[in-house]
């Protein structure tokens, strides 16, 4: 390559290409980036698209008490297997239909826990 030292007259953007080892596959890159980000704390994720700002204004609703107060106020966020999630959804749907009232996923988990406790 041509090295122009202290060339203050004109910049040049010509750089020789240097081989940088074997190229990595996309999954390998993604895994490594995720690992590094975790380690150094750059772990937040950007949203896929910026939330669109609605220009519409909704008509004002009179304030009223929420209808279904369940008393469940403690947040619980975790990752589970897709099949377990599907099962909870299915049980929730079935119970909703049988009991003719909304039976939430939270209630299904609580009932399962209740049964486990009783059977032990």
């Amino acid at each position: 390559m041509t090295i122009i030292e202290n060339d203050r007259a004109k910049l040049s953007l010509d750089f020789d290409d240097v081989e940088e080892g074997a190229p990595m596959s996309r999954p390998e890159i993604e895994q490594l980036v995720e690992q590094i980000s975790e380690e150094v704390g750059f772990r937040s994720r950007s949203p896929l698209t910026a939330p669109a700002k609605s220009e519409l204004t909704l008509p004002e609703q009179p304030k009223r008490r929420a209808r279904f107060k369940t008393g469940r106020t403690y947040p619980f966020n975790t990752k589970i297997k897709p099949e377990a999630y599907e099962l909870i959804c299915q049980l929730s749907d079935e119970a909703t239909e049988v009991e003719q009232r909304p039976v939430s996923m939270a209630e299904i988990i609580e009932r399962a826990l209740d049964r486990m406790q009783k059977s032990s």
Binding site: L13, V18, I29, V33, I36, V40, R43
Partner: protein, 233 residues
């Protein structure tokens, strides 16, 4: 084949002058080389989208609005194919997209204002660069760029920080960006520095001199790195 340098602007903190530093460098590269330059706007606020919307950008500056960590690698690769240098302006948060950009960068510029809080944030950015360099087994250079410095004199704070960085053997770019009206005017007019006329803003010549020194300092680092890589190969 010619290599296209990728320069990423990283700081976990917003408002330190990343966007201004990126536009100033792009502007100077275009002015001095006449080559096609790509600027990837990876900030969800898209400051360059608004800048380009004023329709005064040079024809050989491509602005690419990146969407997320899932699109940035492809955008960098495409920009490398179509231009002679790629600049990436990132969001001022500790985002995974920053790691993706750093993994592809040849030089990471970390803008810092003269405050100790900024210097601490910069340390986190340096940690990221070092860890990514190790993980990907490729040389990724970095340098601190002091931005928005008061024009009148170098403050005590700045000198203290500068001194501390030198002692810690942290790489500092051999140029600074002074807080000048001309740099702010770029965003209000949608122009590049060399498309401004003295009627637009005062102190333009000083801003141009700063920009030129800054571009040369960046180029010196890239050349130095390129030479080292060739020697190592």
């Amino acid at each position: 084949m010619s290599k296209t340098p990728v320069i990423a602007f990283v700081s976990p903190k917003g408002g330190v002058g990343k966007t201004t530093a990126a536009l100033t460098l792009a502007s100077e590269f275009i002015h001095q080389t006449g080559e096609r330059i790509s600027l990837i706007d990876a900030d969800p606020n898209y400051p360059f989208k608004r800048w380009a919307a004023l329709s005064r950008k040079p024809h050989n500056l491509d602005i690419i609005c990146d969407e997320s960590e899932e699109t940035i690698l492809d955008n960098i690769e495409r920009a490398k194919q179509s231009s002679k240098a790629v600049l990436i302006d990132l969001e001022g948060t500790k985002n995974m997209r920053v790691t993706y950009a750093v993994s592809k960068a040849d030089l990471v510029i970390i803008p810092v204002q003269g405050s100790i809080l900024d210097a601490n944030e910069a340390a986190e950015a340096i940690k990221l660069v070092k860890r990514t360099e190790k993980g990907f087994s490729r040389k990724i250079d970095y340098a601190i760029l002091f931005t928005r410095l008061p024009a009148a004199l170098l403050t005590r704070n700045f000198l203290d920080i500068s001194d501390q960085l030198k002692k810690a053997e942290i790489q500092v770019l051999d140029a600074q960006l002074i807080e000048r009206e001309a740099f702010k005017t770029l965003f209000s007019t949608g122009r590049c520095l060399h498309d401004l006329s003295a009627g637009h803003v005062s102190g333009l010549e000083k801003a141009k001199a700063d920009a030129s020194n800054y571009a040369h300092a960046v180029m010196d680092r890239l050349r130095q790195q390129s030479t080292q890589s060739i020697q190592a190969a």
